[in-house]
Amino acid sequence: MTIEKIIFLVIAAVTLGAAVMVVTARKLIHSALWLILALFGVAVVYGLLDAGFLAVAQVVIYIGAIAILFIFAVMLTRRVMNDTDSQNNQYWWVAAPLSVLLFGGLTWMLSSWQGFSTELPKLTPEAKSGMLKQLGQVLVSPDGYVLPFELASILLVAALIGAIWVAWDRK
């Protein structure tokens, strides 16, 4: 049991517990706050996987923007749904075993794949420190992903303008 394994297990337990609270909490504002904890756990997992940029992007984009957007949306719509009513629809008892079944199926399918217990490939310290520069170059170089990158920016701008237009109060 190395220190990394212990960190991973603790983070995984916290993240999964927070995710369970997200889908079961009675008050929606609590769900949104639990989501922040789950997203932090995922950010730490990115850090464990040597993806430092993604860990920072997770904190900035997911926690800083998306989770706050959720909290605003919950506050804007909170009068309509009483927190004491049932938060689940009439089919929730189908959803629970279906999720467990899917988890079992996924685990079984993955465990029959021969690459399932691949060990971590060693990286030199130079390779690790050069990763951020390499990622930046691959995102904007014509041989890399400049076209998908620009498309993603256009998609984001279009989606945000569309969101403003959809949510605009025209009365």
Partner: protein
């Protein structure tokens, strides 16, 4: 060292928890919260496969960055739709939003 299987099982569990939220919740915002959890599980998968299978080129992380952008777009449009529906029909319960049901 952590084997790849731990990350895969972790992300599968996270995905299934999110799926339960999407299927079981009545509130449309809660459904979107479940979708966020599922998206995070898929991004963990992408990053874990990148790190364990082919870490030298950065293609896996570039893919994950694209998924981040799409997730941000998705949540902005989704919440805008919910707020718009809330204004017009005064409900956020997914069962009551049936104007397009034929």
């Amino acid at each position: 060292m952590i084997p790849l299987s731990w990350y895969l099982i972790f992300s599968a569990a996270l995905f299934c928890i999110g799926l339960y939220g999407v299927l079981a919740r009545r509130n449309a915002i809660a459904i979107l919260l479940g979708i966020e959890v599922m998206l995070n599980a898929t991004i963990i998968n992408l990053v874990a496969f990148w790190r364990y299978r082919n870490p030298e080129p950065m293609h896996g992380q570039a893919f994950a960055v694209m998924v981040f952008a799409v997730a941000a777009a998705e949540v902005a449009v989704g919440l805008a739709l919910i707020i718009s529906i809330y204004r017009r029909r005064n409900t956020v319960v997914a069962d009551d939003i049936d104007i397009m049901k034929w």
